[in-house]
Amino acid sequence: MNEIIETGQFSEKVFKIVVSAPRIAKSRKPGHFIVLRTDENGERIPLTIADADVKQGTITLVVQKAGVSTTKLCNMKPGDKIADLVGPLGKATKIKKVGTILACGGGVGIAPLLPIVEGFKKVGNRVISVLAGRSKDLIILEDQIKKWSDEVVVMTDDGSYGHKGVVTVGAEEIIKREEINECIVIGPTVMMKFTALLTKKYNIPTQASLNTVMVDGTGMCGACRVSVGGKTRFTCIDGPEFDAHQVDFDELILRLGGYKEEEKRAYNAYLENQNK
């Protein structure tokens, strides 16, 4: 259990890790996440599940190297064991036939978007996906997303691939062109905030899958709390998907920066140690 079966690399900082977790592979649904701890001294970090193979008993995680824990994880090799892995956590995406779905994914957010796009397509929706990233190498899983989409639009900030511009530019063109019944957005918080503002303008129901600070991931600590429509909700048990028009993204952005200094210090110490 928890053995790394396969690793891969999408770009300089984005890695793919396939882990043996037969029970989770069997019970996970689109939208679910897991919490893992790389080693006995590690911290518990939440990661959304990008894919699962029930037969092989594996789940696929897509991880961006950002701090100590993600770096430790990305540096692990096939055969290594993750100390702790628990899941699936959170509420699954409500997948049903609604008509046309606009799926917006940004950066590593494209990974958890994949099973959701697949789910919506399989129940008979028309799916249009907009994938966005700063540059070409940050657009991941394009072929897999294509498999389950009627149309894929790629946006890059620097224009190195697809269209030049941010996600909302591509999304708005589609909204103006045809009727969209529901939108789902996963990516950096700022990107989700502006996508929500856009779809609110056009009155399109929108779900955003939030990424917050978590400790246990089972409702115990409340570190993942977020304001939604005037209520405090816990991302780990009430989410991770919420009505994007009701989420207080500005508060969320502040909260995500909460441990930044502690994390930076820890990361520097870690890198120093590695170089010794």
């Binding site: 304001s227 429509g229 005037g230 209520k231 009701q246 207080d248």
Partner: protein, 326 residues
């Protein structure tokens, strides 16, 4: 075309007949029903600060509480509060989703403390405006006028600080100088004043010699009190006035508008006749306007209000066969 539109709650309402805050407006199915009668706005049932405390007391005295970790109930009033507020936020959201009429959230408070801070969340849930239902029954002989009055000003100040949607007040008539108080409050940036709260009133059963509850619903002759004060205040305060209590027919509603009310709030009549009464009153106003060749509300609103500082009928206390005009 007869234009029934009017301003209240800082909004342009399609007509001046508002479904007032009552038990019916606390239930989403009833709200949908009421909306079919096309009111100018719907004021949801109030969330009561007092009610939370009662529920907390009940929880503490329940038998199972004796066996608990004392820590469990230490702050349980906050849990109850959150439960009730949560339900209220859901109600606002559902109403906004299902109904195409302005939805006004109503908050009842007896202290200007943290309770006030919850209005921000009512705004976040999507309320179009907020009606602050403020009341102190001035029964405390140790409390000074200033203390009582400060509560109103403090509440208005705090609420205006934290929300951007319009805020109106619903008040009682228990002030030593009602006119000055309303004038001063109206200048603090509020979008309207509703006259008046209708309290639960005690009554006495002389056979059993015990206290009972007075009639829960207003009678159709109770409108005279708000009529007088609407007439006195409407031209003097810096915000629109809405009248409530005893408005059971189009005639009474028209009287209120003539006295200067921008809108009327209906509650007891909805209980007695069902939500359709709202449509009935609106149609009645419209018919009367046609008969009188009025094209819009503002053409007759305040026609019979007190417009000068002279003594007029509204200020008389003795019955005289006189009804003043400007």
């Amino acid at each position: 075309m007869t234009d029934l539109s009017t301003r209240f709650f800082g909004l342009t309402l399609k007509n001046p007949v508002i479904a007032g805050s009552c038990g019916m407006t606390g239930n989403i199915n009833r709200i949908v029903e009421i909306a079919k009668a096309k009111p100018g706005a719907i004021v949801l049932k109030s969330v009561f600060e007092e009610e939370i405390d009662l529920l907390y007391q009940k929880e503490q005295s329940s038998s199972y509480a004796q066996n608990l970790d004392p820590e469990y109930l230490n702050y349980f009033d906050y849990v109850i509060k959150e439960e009730n507020l949560g339900k209220y936020l859901d109600l606002i959201q559902e109403a906004k989703k299902l109904v195409d009429v302005p939805i006004v959230a109503s908050v009842s408070c007896i202290t200007s403390n943290e309770w006030i801070s919850y209005v921000k969340r009512l705004q976040d849930a999507g309320a179009d405006a907020i009606e602050l239902n403020l009341f102190i029954i001035p029964s405390d002989v140790k409390r000074t006028n200033e203390e009582n009055e400060r509560f109103y000003f403090e509440s208005v100040r705090k609420v205006s600080e934290i929300v951007s949607i319009p805020v109106t007040l619903k008040v009682s008539y228990y002030f030593s100088n009602l006119a000055k108080m309303m004038k001063d409050l109206s200048s603090k940036g509020i979008a309207g004043i509703t006259l008046f709260n209708r309290f639960y009133s005690p009554d006495i059963n002389i056979e059993k010699e015990e206290l009972t509850s007075g009639d829960v619903f207003s009678n159709s002759d109770e409108y005279l009190l708000p009529l007088r004060w609407t007439g006195i205040l409407s031209s003097k305060v810096d915000c629109p006035i809405a009248a409530t209590t005893g408005i059971h027919s189009a005639e009474t509603a028209i009287k209120m508008i003539l006295a200067g009310a921008g809108a009327v709030q209906i509650a007891s009549a909805m209980y007695k006749e069902g939500p359709d009464v709202i449509g009935k009153i609106t149609n009645g106003i419209e018919e009367w306007m046609k008969r009188k060749f009025y094209n819009s509300i503002k053409e007759f609103k305040g026609k019979l209000a007190l417009h000068t500082d002279d003594i007029t009928a509204y200020e008389r206390v003795q019955f005289m066969n006189y009804f003043g005009n400007k």
